[in-house]
């Protein structure tokens, strides 16, 4: 079946603008995750959804970042008033159950965000 998809693949915006990044998880996966990867860096966890609820938002770097998930499927990560330090690749992952050490996360191709 189809893997995790993300859109857009690339986004260039001006400082101060808002952006929305979309993630379509694998069908039937109840858990969804957002990470970001800055140039040459490892992945940084942002937020975890179980169904439509977000039990762990601990990785969101500031209140300019928010995310929602609807219908237990699509998720949107919103960054308000973007700053240059927000430039990164934003990766979405999904897993079947979520919350267990055996649960495998499958990643999408990412959205490359560039803030000018």
């Amino acid at each position: 079946g189809a893997g995790v998809s993300q859109s857009p693949s690339n986004k260039v915006t001006e400082k101060g603008k808002d952006v929305e990044l979309r993630c379509d998880p694998i069908s039937g996966h109840t858990a969804l995750y957002w990470y970001r990867q800055s140039l040459g860096q490892g992945l940084e966890f942002l937020i975890y959804f179980q169904g439509n609820s977000a039990p762990d938002k601990s990785g969101l770097p500031s209140d300019r970042f928010s995310a929602e998930r609807t219908g237990g499927s699509v998720s949107t990560l919103t960054i308000q008033r973007t700053q240059q330090e927000d430039s990164a690749v934003y990766l979405c992952a999904s897993s079947l159950m979520g919350g267990g050490p055996q649960d495998t996360q499958y990643f999408g191709p990412g959205t490359r965000l560039t803030v000018l």
Binding site: V4, A31, Y33, Y35, G42, L43, E44, F45, Y48, Q50, P55, D56, S58, G59, L91, A93, S95, M97, G98, G99, G100, P101, Q102, D103, T104, Q105, Y106, F107, G108, P109, G110, R112
Partner: protein, 109 residues
């Protein structure tokens, strides 16, 4: 969360077996060990996961000693297309993967 340590980079040649060792000294009883591969401009791709002893799939083998304080990812007969970053992770809660810097594997012809 369990911290992992792995080599920054490794070089190999096509056709060779590559072993990447990761140390995770403070691994807990219920933790699983997971390895991901990442190519430039792509998301990480799951390779293999294990709890103890040996796990093998069509891509790789994972060796975990009895004390579980380390693990070794073994890639048989690598090709140029195996050039990538390889991440070792210790899965504790499953809801938050903690990625380290990874190992850059360069396969040469």
């Amino acid at each position: 969360l369990a911290k992992t340590t792995q080599p920054i980079s490794m070089d190999s040649y096509e056709g060779q077996e590559v072993n990447i060792t990761c140390s995770h000294n403070n691994i807990a009883t219920n933790d699983y060990i997971t390895w991901y591969q990442q190519f430039p401009s792509q998301g990480p791709r799951f390779i293999i996961q294990g709890y103890k002893t040996k796990v093998t799939n069509e891509v790789a083998s994972l060796f975990i000693p009895a004390d579980r304080k380390s693990s070794t990812l073994s890639l048989p007969r690598v090709s140029l297309s195996d050039t990538a970053v390889y991440y070792c992770l210790v899965n504790r809660y499953g809801n938050k993967l903690v990625f380290g810097a990874g190992t850059i594997l360069r396969v040469k012809s």
